[in-house]
């Protein structure tokens, strides 16, 4: 199909689909390099409004376009109405910038941020007209590369992906582009890619692969020109990543392993990047992001300096520790914000010791008190249910803490005061490379009983409860720790119509159940299955840097209900992540 013919056909389709702005590109700060020799399509396997809000992909996009001669263009998963129309009209998957076919790119890079997007990865490959199985591809087909946190267990997607990027891609991406530029021969490109220690090529067998750690994160400047989404994006704000990694050691947390150690960006760099971004995007909100921004040692100075330059700015600090300090910080950062989020994760001391969340009842109460005292009128509290060793006491604890928060709220705002305590309880899903990787999920019927109890008990004025769909959590658990056979299941489910699994309106439980059954497995049994620490795990060949011994030791400590300190302040616990120049790097003592 000629290029102008393709453009005309895309325009025809856009007249009849929902939200055509998802497909038009042309946003501010978009990079167009029509004459680049090497073209890389960077894809987020979900809708535009989700994908464009992803910071990691924005970083890679800027990096390829600014630092290499290659062009990076964007792709998001077409919504089912558009995908169906594309198939009907024979329009292949295209990039937003130039509306050229993805199939004509040198590389299709897909970020894996969540397991529930895996069916969309297959959807993207198929819509592009690229053979679904890596083994069936040849000269002329782009190399399909997958990265992002969920690549840490590559096995469910191993059959469909040519190479997996393990870890932080800032430095490695330039090396990959250099290989694409050096030779047009697909086999030769793959041979050279296989030499990179952070790439896993399934066709080469399960050879050890090492997670790449961007040691220069703290030195390199923060990117400042993100693409500004059209109005529908889930996040429309400037954001500067102030720190990478977190060593608090929560035992359920994948990021807590996968991004170790902690590297903080200098305050001057954060302030400069933030102000530059505000200028070139036109946003009126700036978010200082990280896994736990109140832990960033330069946070107070950064807030002070940004506020001095822009006194009226909405400055937000997502992901804060539960304590009075962070609450005061949030209030100082944004005096107009009326809502604050705390994430105790578990409501009893026993469970917090099990999951290694080193906060006390007293700290939580003080934080709630400080939040209402600072004038917040909406308090969100995040918890998990279905955690290992959970008893009914823990669920009751969530109810008690919800009521306790309301009581504190009433003390500040009055019995009939206009405020809300919003309790959110998600379902625990074990993740690879965490101390809880050997644990199973709670059975679905148990989760439902607990959810029902929460619904009945946490009722009343000023209280709100939100729960996660048990079906999607079970699916996430069943595929996240999967193996090559999970790949068969995935393919069968996608062929039966599964896509956009995280969207309740598109979730196809029947397709997944049948697919598991056809592979001789049961969805729930997979999700709830405990693993024997002596048995190999499908992702054993992926070296995160954090040793399996450390994870197992942490698992034992969880059974002894003992928390572990944070190595930033309590001394190194020898997890293995720090090697050579890679180590915890804080900007302020």
């Amino acid at each position: 199909m000629e290029q102008h013919d393709l453009q005309a056909r895309i325009e025809d389709l856009l007249g009849s689909v929902e939200k055509p702005s998802r497909y038009i590109g042309g946003e501010v700060n978009e990079a167009v390099k029509p004459d680049a020799g090497v073209r890389v399509a960077l894809a987020y396997p979900d809708a535009y409004e989700v994908g464009i809000s992803n910071q990691a992909l924005q970083i890679l996009y800027g990096l390829v376009n600014d630092r290499t001669a290659a062009a990076a263009e964007r792709v998001y998963c077409p919504w089912p109405d558009m995908a169906d129309a594309m198939r009907r009209e024979g329009v292949p998957l295209f990039t937003l910038e130039t509306w050229r076919p993805v199939r004509d790119c040198d590389l299709l890079g897909v970020t894996l941020q969540a397991e529930l997007t895996y069916s969309n990865v297959l959807e993207l490959i198929d819509l592009a007209g690229i053979p679904l199985h890596a083994a069936a591809r040849g000269q002329g087909d782009p190399i399909v590369l997958a990265g992002g946190p969920s690549a840490s267990n590559p096995m469910p997607l191993a059959r469909f992906v040519d190479a997996f990027f393990m870890g932080e891609a800032e430095e490695g991406m330039e090396r990959i582009v250099a290989i694409l530029e050096a030779t047009p021969d697909r086999a030769e490109r793959l041979r050279r890619l296989a030499e990179l220690p952070f790439l896993y090529l399934p066709e080469r067998g399960e050879e050890p692969v090492e997670r790449a750690i961007f040691a220069d994160f703290a030195i390199d400047t923060a990117p400042t020109r993100p693409v500004v989404p059209y109005a529908s994006a889930i996040f429309s704000r400037a954001s500067v990543e102030v720190m990478r990694g977190c060593t608090r050691g929560c035992r359920f947390c994948h990021a807590g392993t996968w991004y170790r150690p902690v590297r903080e960006r200098p305050v001057e760099d954060v302030v400069r990047a933030g102000l530059e971004q505000l200028g070139c995007t036109g946003y009126d909100e700036l978010s200082l992001t990280s896994l736990a921004t109140s832990d960033y040692s330069g946070v107070e100075r950064a807030i002070r300096e940004i506020k001095a330059a822009k006194p009226d700015l909405h400055l937000s600090l997502p992901s804060n520790r539960v304590d009075t300090g962070p609450v005061a910080l949030s209030a100082a950062a944004n005096s107009r914000q009326r809502s604050i989020t705390l994430a105790p994760e578990a409501a009893t001391q026993r469970m917090r010791d099990i999951i290694c969340k080193t906060i006390t009842d007293e700290m939580i109460e003080r934080a709630i008190d400080a939040a209402f005292g600072a004038g917040y009128t909406s308090l969100k509290m995040y918890f998990m249910i279905g955690l290992p060793l959970e008893t009914f006491e823990e669920v009751q604890g969530i109810v008690d803490l919800g009521f306790r928060a309301r009581e504190i709220g009433r003390r500040h705002h009055g019995d009939n005061g206009r405020f809300t305590v919003h309790v959110s309880a998600s379902n625990f899903v074990p993740k690879p490379h965490t101390p809880f990787q050997w644990d199973g999920m709670a059975p679905p019927e148990q989760l439902r009983v607990k959810q029902d109890y929460l619904r009945r008990a946490l009722r009343g004025r000023q209280l709100k409860l939100s729960l996660h769909d048990v079906r999607t959590s079970m699916l996430e658990g069943a595929i996240g720790r999967g193996d090559a056979i999970t790949g068969d299941v995935l393919e069968a489910a996608w062929r039966a119509g599964a896509r956009f699994d995280a969207w309740t309106e598109h979730h196809r439980e029947d397709a997944w159940r049948d697919a598991f059954r056809a592979a001789g497995r049961d969805l729930e049994a997979e999700a709830t299955r405990e693993r024997d620490p002596l048995d190999p795990l499908p992702w054993d060949h992926v070296r995160s840097g954090v040793s399996k011994e450390f994870l197992l030791d942490e698992w034992y400590r969880s059974r002894a209900e003992r928390a572990t300190g944070d190595c930033r302040w309590d001394g190194c616990t020898d997890c293995g992540a720090c090697v050579g120049p890679v180590r915890n790097r804080l900007v302020e003592a």
Binding site: L14, S21, V28, Y230, G282, Y283
Partner: protein, 209 residues
Amino acid sequence: MRERARFLSHLEMVDVLLAALRRAGFEVALSQGMRPKPVISLALARGVGVASEDEHLSVELVGDDHDPADVLARLVATCPRGVVPLTCAPAGPKADVTGATYRLAFAAPAAAVEAACASYRGADELVVERSSPKGRRRIDVRRFAPDPVCEDGAVHVRIAILEDGSAKPDEVARALDQRADGGLGRAAITRLAVHTAPRGARVGAVETP
């Protein structure tokens, strides 16, 4: 609103312009009241997919020494692809939008388009169905757009906004399509001009030729 930018919805367009103004260094004034909103509006909503050579944006900027030429130059530099500011002037007295002129380009041969136009003009009534979340309605588009003419192979038509409503350009295109023997197919629609008049100028009917 050219090229792909025509696929932005009305609300997305307002958002895009607000961000462009902020990037250009302007602060948009906020309305009074419990929930202050930026004082900005686009005179006439445009259907998704309709290109436009004429949009009337009015916006209140903080500060009072703005040079229109400077505002225009800065806005040209900060608008995204396909959104092209053309002129800028201080706001005059309040006006009503009384209609807009559109160009409807069909893929069908010019003679067929010409014939459909003639047949349209000769009809007493041209009813098309409008479906919206509120339900289905029948609209006589000829009441609002009595006089489409053929110019260089495309139809130019002025659609009036009356006290009781208006027709959409794609509805006029559908009515033309219905008047053509083999049909005309879908039209590429471009708004050529927005027409305004001093406040209170809207009428109940347009004169038919």
